[in-house]
Each structure stands twice: as C-alpha cells, then as structure tokens.
Amino acid sequence: MTVVRTSVDAAAEDFAEYRDAMLTKLDELETEHAKAIEGGGEKYTERHRKRGKLLARERIELLIDEDSPFLELSPLAAWGSDYKVGASMVTGIGVVEGVECMIIASDPTVKGGSMNPWSVKKGFRAADIAAQNRLPTINLVESGGADLPTQKEIFIPGGRTFRDLTRASKERVPTVALVFGNSTAGGAYLPGMSDYVVMVKEQAKVFLGGPPLVKMATGEESDDESLGGAEMHARTSGLADYLAVDEEDAIRLGRSIIKRLNWNKQGPSPKPSYSEPRYDAEDLLGIVPTDLKVPFDPREVIARVVDGSDFDEFKPLYGSSLVTGWADIHGYPVGILANARGVLFSEESQKATQFIQLANQSDTPLLFLHNTTGYMVGKNYEQNGIIKHGAMMINAVSNSTVPHISVLMGASYGAGHYGMCGRAYDPRFLFAWPSAKSAVMGGQQLAGVLSIVARASAESRGQAYDEDQDAAMRAMVEGQIEAESVPTFLSGMLYDDGIIDPRDTRTVLGMSLSAIHNGPVEGARGYGVFRM
C-alpha cells in the first residue's frame, strides 16, 4: 500500500481562486446541459406529453435499474452548430436488469426526433462504444427519420447505423429496439436489424412507405395501421416480437428481454472490496490553475481518484515530467500516465513507451490524464531525436490493445494530444474537465507563429510590416483558437464523450471501466518489452 501524500492546502488563496473559477465553469456547463435536457423546448414537450407520451429521458429513467447510475454520453453534441444542443438524441450507458447497456433514445420533441448530421455522428459514437466494449444496445425509437434538408450529410453515411446493428448481432452482442412511434422509411431498418423488437400499440408506425407514397407508387389505398401498426407487425408481419399496450409496458418488456439474455461479462471481475480515496474529491476543484501555463502535480488528482489513494509509481526518478504508475479504480487495476509539467521530452516519451508495453504484458487498462503542451521543440531536442522518441510513444499508444481511457484535465496540445491517446487514437472513453483545452497549439503561440511567418514574408518582399494589422490579426487568431479549444466546442464536435465535473472523475472512470470489462481485456502480443 503506497498512499499518495498530499500537499493541497484547501485554505490557500490559489486554491480558492482556482475553485471559484472551476465552479463558474461548472455553472456554465450546467446551463449548456440544461439546453440538452430542454430538448425541443416547452411547447413541443407539452405537445408530446399531451399525447400521453414519455420524454426520452423519462423513458430511459424508467428503463434502467432503480437507483443505478447512468452515464450520459455526448450530451453537448451539436453545441455551437445550428442544431439543438444534444442533437435530438440521448445516448448513455445504463444498467438494465444488472446488464450494462448502451441506450440510444431519439428525442421526439426536437423536430419529431429526426436525425440531423450531428445526431448521426452521436449515434455512430454510441455504436462504436457499444461495439468496442461489447455492450448490448437498446434503441428507444421515435424518429421522423432523416432531416431532409441535410439529407446529403445523412443519407449515405447514415447507412452505417443499420450495418452496425447487424454487425453487433454477428458479434453476439444483442440489440433491442423498443418502438414508441415513427420508425419509417430507412428508419424501419432499425427494428428491422435488431435482435428483439417491441412495438407500442397504436403508437409504433414502422413501414418503408406511408400511405401517400404507396398511393403514388402503386395507386393502392392504405392507412398507417395496416401498413405499419404495432398490431399488424405483431400479428401479421412478425416484425414485432412483442406487442406492448403502452410505453411503460414496452419498457417492462424491454427489461424482461435483457433479463433473459444470460449476459456474462468477458473481462475479469473487479476486486470484491476496495476503499474509497483517502482524500476529498472536493479538492479537485481547486487543483487546476486558472492559467494552464502553471503546472500542477497530477498525483494530487490520482490521490483523489484511485482506490485508497494507493498509487505505485513506476520509474519515478526518470522522465519526471510524466508520472506513470499502477493503481485500482473501483476494484479495476489500471496503469496511469499523467503529465506533470506539461512538456514531453525524450525521457518521458521512452518512459511512456515502456510503461504502455508493460501494461499490455499484464492486460492492464490504461488511463491517460492530460495536461500537456506537447513534445519539446528546439535544436538540442531535435538533434537528440525527440521525433523518434515521440513516435515511439505514439506507436506504443496506437498499437496497444488494452483499453484506454483519456481524461483532459488541462492542456492537450499538439502531438502531445496524440501521444497521450487523443480522440484519434481510439480511447474507449474520452472525457474533459471544464478546465481542459485542446488544439494544435495554444492560441497565443499559434498567433505568434503566424505573425513571425508573415513578418518574415513581408521582409523578404521588402515590404513594411503593418504592426496595427498584425495586432488585429493576432487578436483575431488568438480569439478563434481559444474559442475552438474550449471543451464545449470540442464536445459539440463529438471530440470527447462529455465534459465532467472533476469531482465525478472517479465515478465516471468506474462506470467506464466496468463497461469496458463487458469485453475481453487483452494486451498486444508480439515482442517482449523494449527496455528504454
């Protein structure tokens, strides 16, 4: 047992300042989350309720086990776009009859639950998570189909939705569709490709073509119920396996389906008992400095996240700008890589490479805690092979097969974002703290680089350099990069799986690790560990 010692002083001035700043950001985050919860707004919510229907989140709450946690994913999808925050869809991991499931619910209060380009991306992300972690999927369907004005961005890539369902089934990961309303045209393949289908009487409507289209195509007179009603599908076409009398009944039936899956998690079980951290998670609010240039000790974070604050550091004396070591989170063993002083040098890169290989040897999942400004630049470093060493680390991350989770605590800039398993490196989950920022480099640096290049270009042409214009350009670029580095923006782009309250980090990681262990946890095979 190696308990991390803390030097956090909750009474310090810095701490209070950082904490206030973090709380302000959390308030702002709550405001943005509220937009997602609001869905289509009061008017459409009211109309939906008047039809006696449940809201998407109410359906989910009723579906999951009582008092169980629910991890909503990508709640800010479409943030900063022309579409409603949340992208007319709710996705998340919830426990149904003791089985962790990927739950995907269309939000019918937003344009009838129709899919816009962001909804499609959010759905893909959910499907990826379900596939990578072997999570059974439950679709709560009530969608008007594609948002037709943007069909060009939806129609062709959107076909993946149905492909994913049947591929999940091939991998023996069950898929369940509970159809509460419209699921027509292409949407009909959602129940069509699912292992189990429940339809709500007098609500579900599942057909390829509705009465007007049928009339146009063949001249046949028809109606909704005979073309795609729940009764018809349950009694005649056989597309529905279960006929639910109402929404609650559909959810009840959905639960009973999951109960009978005989679902077994393939990964190892967590340790049956473990301790909570010795230090208060509240402190996490005051640890991250308001200015990301000021480094902080990630051990203070680790001490408030891992079981019993028990962390065994690996290679503590070497490459000390990156902390590596072993710990447990909610009983699951993890290897942790955390940036300590922002910059990654050759030593840190080699240390990371070795550590990632060791984790693969012992089938241990990896947690990356980001606060990096990137790999070191400069003559000495280039000459000493920083590119090679950075490449080693990126190679190790790319080809590691143990599950990875990334948490962006502070900076995540440049190739450091890659080396620390950024989004493109397929971490199973990636969450950001409200204090996080991610871009190719900091706004100030990027503006400065552009300025230097422009100045050199002007000089080479023998032109005078307009300082006023330079200042204006720098301010504009800096502003743009800053705006595009903030977590709400990145979350809106689906570049993370959600922004979390730092105090929830342990809980979010616990849920993520538990979800991950539905699949096998196996490290890469091939070579032995290369000593660095």
Binding site: I37, D67, V95, R252, G510
Partner: protein, 665 residues
Amino acid sequence: MASFECEHGDPMINSVLVANRGEIARRVFRSCADAGIGTVAVYSDADADLPHTREADAAVRLPGNTPSETYLRGDRIIEAAHQAGADAIHPGYGFLSENADFAQAVQDAGLTWIGPPPAAIASMGSKVEAKRIMADAGVPVLSELDPAEITADQLPVLVKASAGGGGRGMRVVHELSALEDAVKAASAEAGSAFGDATVFCERYLPTGRHIEVQVLADEHGTIWAVGERECSIQRRHQKVIEEAPSPLVDDAMRQQLFDAARAAAKAIGYVGAGTVEFLATDSGEFFFLEMNTRLQVEHPVTECVTGVDLVGLQLRIAESDRLPPEPPPQDGHAIEVRLYAEDPAQDWQPQSGTIHALDVPRVAAEFRIPPRGGIRLDSGFEGGSVVGVHYDPMLAKVIAWAPTRGEAARALAAALAGSKIHGLVTNRDLLVTVLRHPAFLAGETDTAFFERHGLDTLSTPLADDRARQLSALAAALAAAAANRAQAKVLSGLPSGWRNVASQRQRKSYRVGEDTVDVDYRITRAGLDADGHDDVSLVTSTPGRVVLTVAGVRRTFDVARYGDQVYVDSPLGPVALRRLPRYTDPDAAVPAGSLLAPMPGSVLRVAVEQGATVQSGQPLLWLEAMKMEHQISAPADGVVAELPVSQGQQVDVGTVLAVVHAASES
C-alpha cells in the same frame, strides 16, 4: 413470585396433552415444564408449523383444519393422549374447555381432566340454568326475560346464546320490531358455533362494567377468590383490554364480589380454576352474568398482581393437592391487551396471512410473571407464522405489571407502540390510543368505551400524515440502499448518480388509502427530496434510515417482505405497499371488479351473470372467520362476470364478480 405451599400427595400427572392451540397451549406447556411434567400438543394441518406444535415434547396431528374436524374432536384428542402417552388433558380455553361431555369422556378414558367436575361444567353451561342456581345461592342476577313478553320499557335487551361465549350468538336489541330477527340470528350463530341454538334475553346495561372474579377451588373445600379483573373494554362483546385490579372496585365492593364469587363456586361444587363474571354499574351495583368453568384468556393479569401461577395450581388441584387457606393479596396493577390481526377501521375485519415479524420490545418474561415493572408476552405466533382463517386471529397478549395503573398503562402503550408487527393489519394502534386516552387513564372504562369515544377517532393511526410521508421517504431510501447493495454491477458507485440530471428517482407507495410518491435524488450535496426541504439524510442502509428532520435526528427501521414495507419509528408504525414500477397488463383486473376482501368461502350467490343490479344490492356472501361478509353491487349496472360459485374457497384479491356500471354498458 410469592410461594404457595400446597399439601402434596403423590404426583399423579406425568404428561399433559393440551387440547388447544397457540398461546394457551404454550402457556400450559410452560407450567408443565416448570413442574417437570411432559407435554403433548395436538395440531391441525394449518398449525403444523406453529410454535406450540414444535415446542411440546410430542405432537399429534388432528387431520383437517376446521375446528369441528380438529380441536373439537374429543375422540381424536383422547386417542392422541393415549398414542403419545399423556395421562392428563388440559383443555385450555375455548374449543372443548367447557364441554362437560368431553370432560367426562376424558375421565372415562382413564385420564386426568385438568378442569372442574363435568357436572359443574354442565350446570354453568346453560346460562339459563346457571342464573337460576346463582339466584338460589344469593348471588345477584339480572332476571331473564321471555322474548315473547318483552315490552318497550324493558329495552334495550340482550339476546345471548345459552351455551355461548366470546360474543358469538349475542345481539343487542333496541327496538321491539328487531327482536324476532335478532333472536333468530343469534340462535343460528349459536347453533353453528356451539352446536346448541338455545338463546335467552335479559336487560341490557349499555354502559355497564364487566368485572369478574378469579376463583380457585380444591377438592377439599377451600375456595379462593384470588382477585378481580375488569374487562369492560370490549368490541363485539369480546374483551380487548383487561386489568387487575378494577379501577371501579373499592375494598367494600371487592369483599362483596369475592363473597358472591365464592358462593357461586360453592353452589355448584366447583373444583379448579374458574371465573365468575359480573356486570356492574358505576355506582357499584353488580349482577351475575355467567361463570366460566375454565382458565380465562386474561388470567395473566391476576397472575401478575397476585404472584399465583394459575396453571400451576390447576395442575396441583388436579393432583388432589390442598390449597392454603387464604389467597395472597393483590399487589400493584396489571393490564393486558389482546393484540388481534384485525382491522378496527374496517368493521374489525379479521386478517389472515403471514405475520413476518412480531417483536415486542423489552419483554421481560413469556408465559410467566415478569419482574415488577416488566412486560409479559403470551403469544402463539412468531415471525414467519401463518395466521389462518380457521381460528381466532389473536396474535398475542401483551401484559404490563407496574406499581400503579398509570405506570402499567404507560409501559404497555410504549411496548406496543414500539413493537415491530409486520405482515398483517392489527388493532395495535387502537390499543395504544386507548391506553393513552384520558378517559381510560381516569378509570372510565365501561363497555361502551368504543361507542362513546368513537371508533373512528380511536382507530386513527398513531403515525400522522407527516410521519407517513417521512416513513415513505425512509422506505424509499432504504430500498435505494438495498438496490445498491444488491447491484450486480457498479454497486460501489453513488446511488442514482447522473452526470446530466434531468429528474429525480421515484418510488410510489400505497399507505392506507393514499398513494405517496417519493421523488428524490442523492447528490453530492446530500438528499434532495420533493416536499422534504427540512430533511437531510444522515445514513441509509437496507434496514435503517437516519434522517434529520427540522433539526431533529430520527431513526426509521425499515423491513421489506416482497412489496410490503414496514417502517417503525417513534413517530408511529407505518405499513406501506410498494407500487410496481410497471404494470403487467395480464395482471390487471377489469374495471368494476369486486375482489374478495379476505380469504374465505363463498357462502351463497344471489345473482346470475347478466343480471341487472342496483347499487348496494347483495350479490354474494363470503364466510370467513365465522362471520358473513356481504359483497354488494358498487353501482347500478349489469353483472358482466361471475367467476365464483357457492362453496368455492377464495383467496384475498380473487375476483368475485365484475359489475359494469349502467353508464358504461
């Protein structure tokens, strides 16, 4: 306990069969065991798992369930005694205890009868005959009235079964026009319950006091009046609260009562334990009611205040021992309540089913005299026992003995209020309310107590609305803790955690006639529960929730049995039923369904399917616990379904009939 030396002959009894069940069987076993006497139980099929069956040294099955198949089968019981090697039979109370033929048969079979001589039983068995004997012996009696000659100025009158007891076959008549029906009904009930349809009438004292004297007589002429009891608080002529001594009786009246009781016992050559019952007025006038030639249900209060082991002495008297010349004096005050599985608010409807828990706190003794100031419990049931439909639904007798009446009432009320009684509706709240009632504490305990103070008021639950709301909250939080503890995955994570919170958790409960929705969230900042702004959560486990309510810490104990939830706290016990999260449509009952309110059998059916009925029209009758329950049409309409037929056994909740209201059809 004071000691009483009896003059001993050689012990005759080696093993006693108790021809009874439940608490009284256990009570007799206790005295037998103390004396080193072996015990034999008999049990019906329904009672095979009850404590009395298990506790005895030997137990013999009486096949069947109804009393007439089992505990009233004297022949089988005597055979059982032979089978199990018992040499004596104690009848307990009820069943065959006052059956002279049975007493005779026991003796004829060569067994010792622990009870009075058959002739004494017979002479008191007929109430008409008994009154005549008592009048002759100088005991004051209420004169018997001939039903045919009753005049309006003699009203009200009481119609009683001559062979009766326990309130059965009894009717009060206030109007002459009702007399004939009352006599018929009482006679029918008496016939069914006692096998003797004879009834008689006497003046009815609506506000009388029921006072009785415990007598003990040996074969050698010593007759004790051991003490008096007051049992005025009755429901349907059945005693509910009994105490010794009576708050009405002063020394002079006591002397008169004791003299009358001894005279009564002497007049019939009584031997053994018996009780002479009197009806007294507030002014101290009293009249002979009847003599019970057996041990009484309420004998423990006399034991407490006198230190006498009445069953122990019954055994010794049966062994022909001699009593000392004088009984011990009464000391302190004892009060007994009869805890029944019945719903006072629903016309005392008897309850049946599993009693999951029956835990009375601070019980100092069971079936014996507790240390002074202690609580005594005499119960035939324990947690997990099934209370059936065939017998009296009395769960337990709880007795307090204290130096004064007020102290005894307070201790008993506290013990009852703190009891964990789970599984069945009981009269507990009513008992506590009575024990704490100013009129009761002032000794104003006449037979009209419930009518005077209003059963509605008295049966109000101890837990007020706020207590019920808090108990529902505690039930929900305990359930949440249980859900977390039992979770197959993620059980170590915070309860109901959300990263994007849109709503609270909801659990709905049925509390009495009301539905209580508990909407709550447990956040980092603590409990956030709708309507409970002044409540914070201290701790919650599946069995216990500690809340701070408006600055005061309160502990709620929570027990769950399927969907039944019981929350016990000093704010009052609350029974809740968890409403399902989802309704299984197959389990839904059609609108207009009439459900069996209790298990029983269909006595008769008055209508046919398709019949047009008026609101209130009787459709069928159920018989349960020897009482008829009428099932009436809830509205004008048509009997759409009638799935039961005469003689059919039904469980509680069985659909008896479906009536479609006229407006629907």
